[in-house]
Amino acid sequence: MKHLLSTRDLSREEAIQLLDIAEDMAAVNEREVKKLPALRGKTVVNLFFEDSTRTRISFEAAEKRLSADVINFAAKGSSVSKGESLKDTTQTLAAMGIDAVVIRHGASGAPQVLAQSGWIDAPVINAGDGTHEHPTQALLDAFTMRKRLHGTGSRGKGLDGVKVTIVGDILHSRVARSNVWLLETLGAEVQLVAPPTLLPHAVDSWPVSVSYNLDEALASSKPDVVMMLRIQQERMHDAFFPNEREYSNLWGLTQERFLALPAKTMVMHPGPMNRGLEISSAAADSPQSTVLEQVANGVSVRMAALYMVLTGEREVTHD
């Protein structure tokens, strides 16, 4: 695996391998000394054109636990008119001998452009691009589901037959896209629930079922996992739905809806949560919620991704 740009490019074998390496990394994270020497002498840059403290810190923790040298580069404004271009920034980093680039960018496809460009000859990891993909988020979500379902017996397993319902702003969500492709690859059955205004125009071409009605969807499919997506503030004022209250009533995981779920149903959220809007505190703080596990697993999964693109190895070698 040269780059990690999209979950759509991942084969089932590659995805399971990455999740298995993440299991090894999770074991490291439980040790007293949470550190491996695997990337000693390698320099990784976190190139963030968009603010995201959570994702950046998660990558930084992953890089440090693999003993990489870390440079954080927060570049606001990416277009030529706003200052330095993606090309110039990248060539600058290339000249400094960077070994890998973790990029977060507001423009869909920016990581792919970087990987294809020849501006830098280093592995590229997509840390979220526009409304396109967020592959490490989907991988950590899959890791979390697998761990909850199979515990210590997770290695080697996919998510065959697992029923996952993703609820919310699918149209603008890179998390949803990465999850749809990865879950399909791992054998899960995916259902999307959203108001029609927040579904992509051609969603019928995706390998999912679609519903506009959350109550019917939850009642009929009895999902193993309910994943709630964040509603961005800027959607409130652009006629996607009338107001927050109506959204919450129709598509939020309210306390009432949460209590009607089977006790084994996992409740997931990529964070940060809008409590009281897309998710109630009752759901978010319940034992069924995986929100904090997702954060912890994020570090392990990102360690695995860095390890795979930088060492090219398929298993963790301990020395």
């Binding site: 993606l86 869909s108 920016a110 792919q112 125009h201």
Partner: protein
């Protein structure tokens, strides 16, 4: 010094007959077999097709204001290399071509360069802002004699302004060329809205945003009895609306670009911004509907929407990149590849859609005539058998943002003749100094 006479021998006319053509001064003086002329420069056209010089109703020459992208000189050199002898220069320059002063400047630059007849297009509204009519009458009565008005790049979105513009240009037999794009339906739009945009996470530009404006405007044209031209049709639905309007007798004409006849939205999968264009590349079924409509006459003309941009506006992430692609040099080859080789149209139709009809729509009396004695010598010689992988060497434009690099295209322009002299010869442009001198000689008579 007067320009030498030209004798073209053994050319194949659009109707398939072989003929010699004698050009004396700026005129074609004889067409037939066995012509001779003692002093004429001879051009052996054995195996070549001769067409009336191509006319592009939709070119962005970028001057004044964006000379880093293109100038009138380099843009008309690109035209000559592509077989065009006249181009209509769009109004979205800096300053905008919304006054007599700007259109006369563009006219002058064109005639000094001498590669093609440059006809400036005037803006419909002041500053292309869609609010207040530009000085349409002043531009029409200027030396540039503007007859085509367009806010291209932007839609005349206000229905009342559109109605008034359609009515007002009847004063001088003008036409409004509409860039059909409902602005509210295309906020931040990046590519065709469909299966590919959903997957790539790029904001969609839905077909309905084009079709709804065309539907509105053909009804306005009917109501006002005015003449309407629709720029760069890109969807199957737009074809249906135009077909309906023409059947109803509405005075509307329509154009399609070469790239919409060949490329689809799947090209965006690479996030390579050379494929970013407005209106966007559509689905394969749209491509096929556009080809059929061009063949049956629903779409009247092919126009390039030649849109040069400097490298830094394309060598970046898709969302930050500029819309547009250059097209003058590749247009005829793309039309040949998509329409002639597929058997949809013949050379007579090529002459119609790339020369006769655009000259008629634009009110350009000196161009677009059948090749007969007494007409101005505006000609292009085409080698129909050449196949080549299109490359940067095939461009004369200052900008290189072509989507066809490495794409195999059929046919190639061998020579272009404008006002009786060569502007392109041996598959390359004639140098600027000689062309300017010949243009001067024509002006002096």
């Amino acid at each position: 010094m007067t320009n030498p006479n030209l004798l073209i021998t053994g050319a194949t006319l659009p109707d398939g007959t072989r003929s010699d053509i004698l050009i004396e001064g700026t005129q074609i003086t004889a067409v037939g077999s066995g012509l001779s002329s003692a002093h004429a420069e001879k051009i052996d056209a054995d195996g070549l097709v001769v067409l009336p010089g191509l006319v592009d109703l939709h070119t962005h020459l970028r001057e004044p204001g964006y000379e880093q992208s293109e100038t009138v000189l380099t843009g008309t050199q690109a035209a000559a290399l592509g077989g065009f002898t006249s181009v209509f220069a769009m109004a979205n320059t800096l300053p905008v071509a919304d006054t007599a002063g700007v259109v006369e400047q563009v006219l002058r630059l064109g005639s000094e360069a001498g590669y093609a007849t440059v006809r400036p297009i005037g803006a419909v509204t002041k500053g292309l802002e869609g609010v207040q009519l530009a000085e349409l009458g002043a531009m029409a009565n200027s030396r540039a004699q503007v007859r085509v008005f367009s806010d291209d790049g932007k839609c005349v979105f206000d229905p009342l302004i559109m109605r008034r513009a359609l009515e007002y240009v009847k004063t001088f037999g003008g036409v409004i060329a509409q860039h059909a794009q409902e602005p509210r339906l295309t906020v931040d739009a990046q590519m065709n809205e469909g299966e590919v945009s959903a997957r790539l996470g790029l904001a969609g530009w839905p077909a309905v945003a084009e079709e709804s404006i065309i539907a509105r405007d053909v009804l306005l044209a009917e109501h006002t009895g005015s003449r309407l031209h629709i720029c760069h049709l890109s969807t199957a639905g737009s074809v249906d609306v135009i077909r309906w309007a023409k059947k109803r007798g509405i005075n509307v004409t329509a154009e399609v670009t070469p790239h919409h006849l060949l490329l689809t939205d799947e090209r965006a999968e690479s996030y390579d911004a050379r494929f970013k264009v407005n209106p966007p590349l559509r689905r394969q079924e749209d491509v096929l509907a556009l080809r059929e409509a061009l063949a049956d006459g629903t779409i009247d003309i092919v126009a390039t929407d030649h849109a040069p941009h400097p490298v830094e506006t394309k060598d970046c992430e898709w969302g930050a990149a500029a819309f547009g692609m250059v097209g003058l040099e590749s247009a005829l080859a793309v039309v040949h590849t998509t329409m002639v080789e597929t058997g949809l149209i013949g050379w007579k139709d090529v002459a119609r859609v790339l020369s006769e009809a655009p000259a008629r729509i634009g009110g350009l009396a000196s161009h677009g005539h059948a090749i007969t004695p007494g007409v101005q010598a505006e000609l292009v010689l085409v080698d129909p058998t050449t196949r080549r992988n299109f490359g940067v060497d095939d461009l004369a434009s200052l900008s290189h943002n072509t989507p066809y690099l490495g794409v195999e295209l059929s046919s190639q322009v061998v020579a272009t003749i404008h006002q009786g002299y060569l502007t392109a010869s041996n598959r390359a442009i004639v140098d600027a100094e000689s062309v300017a001198a010949r243009a001067q000689a024509v002006l002096r008579g």
